[in-house]
Subunit: 313 residues, 2 copies
Amino acid sequence: MYRAGIDLGGTNIKAGIVDEDQKILAEGSVPTMVKRPYQEIIKDMADLVKDLLGKIGAEERELSSVGVGSPGTVDAESGMVRYSNNFGWENIPLAEELGTYFTCPIHISNDANCAALGEVKAGAAKETKNAILLTLGTGVGGGVIIDGKVFEGAHAGGAELGHTSLIFGGEPCTCGRKGCVEAYVSATGLIRQARRAAEQKKDSLMNELCGGDLSAMNGKIPFDAAEQKDEAAMAVVDDYITYLGEAIANYVNIFRPDVVLLSGGVCNQKEKLTGPLTAYIKTVCFAGEKAFIPEVRCAILGNSAGIIGAANL
Amino acid sequence: MYRAGIDLGGTNIKAGIVDEDQKILAEGSVPTMVKRPYQEIIKDMADLVKDLLGKIGAEERELSSVGVGSPGTVDAESGMVRYSNNFGWENIPLAEELGTYFTCPIHISNDANCAALGEVKAGAAKETKNAILLTLGTGVGGGVIIDGKVFEGAHAGGAELGHTSLIFGGEPCTCGRKGCVEAYVSATGLIRQARRAAEQKKDSLMNELCGGDLSAMNGKIPFDAAEQKDEAAMAVVDDYITYLGEAIANYVNIFRPDVVLLSGGVCNQKEKLTGPLTAYIKTVCFAGEKAFIPEVRCAILGNSAGIIGAANL
């Protein structure tokens, strides 16, 4: 039997057919075009899955489930997307609508949850059953896997790890609150801090690496400049690791997972990021080394994590 | 059948025999005397339970389980207390040792987890299956109940809600970290903030209510003085509610429970505490009123919560 996994993104709908060994046998994508009526988007999701089934010569009755990772506040139990800011969605019956195209069960969850599940089933946390994933992109998504299953919280809107406060009264967050983890450890947050530092220190190498145009700042530049011992950049990187370390320590004190995973462009820094983070949380987690301290690792599946995770819902 | 619940405290061992309707049929306590060898403490726990069984005329074979709520970092799976600072315990085989006195299964968990479970089974969250409890005492304990069961985390040392950071780089916490929730919303934290405010504002009513001796400050005085419109006290109470509200919003964004419970002396303030808190979290929780926002309530079972919870492990 096969399972289909769909990763619903703001730009593209990606889908794959996954076998029992967690291998993606066929995958493809179509543009999301978020401004369309949701029914059209969901029809394209169904067509894409059927297309992929055709490509591997499988029939629909060989499909045991279809899973979808959706952005926003997802109610897994009722199959509804309660709210998605990017999509302009409110109370969209995603599972029900998609179910009109299939006879097998449909499962939905938040996209970060799916990525976390994918990494636990087939990726960087494959040997474990308990992991936390932080997706460090424009925002910060959180996925929590407990005993091999997605932890949803009792009501929709749980596991929003990026929307816990890090700095009381700090930077405004996209969620309306101040000082959330997302405002500091997202790529957006890192870039903002690097821009400010470069602006204050005109002789910082970061200015040169931007070609003198701070709007060209990205998350790689402060790490590159820090490597060259640029002081302003080293301070930005140090702060970033401290912020992320404090946030991870909070999640460890709550969930005590086997492993903490990170994904997003900043993971290109690999050991330069995960090494100091693993060391940092050892110094701040509750009960210190008297309790279990997980390793911090980078996710390895990239886009496939969401597809494999959705297929495993 | 009956179940025994034991609440192991720094001063007293409290125990009760609980029936299937969650009623305590007999209860009693003996001094803990924490400095003794752990074997003696555990023998007293067993003797107390057998004594209580005798009082209700029941026999040991009518006991289906014995549960213990212990302070510290508890490994429920192995039945070990990994670490308890107050007791000077490290890797104590509590369940195994207690098991030498009984033929029925022994279960152990952290004391705050037991209090949370007790309130869900028979107290302030009786109609729900998903609740968070914060015990606001000398420290801050956290208990998380999901689907009617204690959430332990994957390894011992999870659900330490009091040891998540609230103010980055803030007050030193007992755990060695800075700015933890515990350092601000424990009774100790509230008293520290009230003392500082009274010291700065010599004309604050709080000084008078202390009899001019700031070492006599307690958690009730700032609330009493705020009621009389004392400005310094009103600021202390406002800050306290904001700190607690921010912490609760973090837990809601992670767990989305049906209800959030508070216990400890500060709960004597009842609606003056829970009213503003429920209102505050509505303004800061992720997705605002588009997602479920739980009510903040005071726990109602007092000391019985730990006994009933332990009996339900």
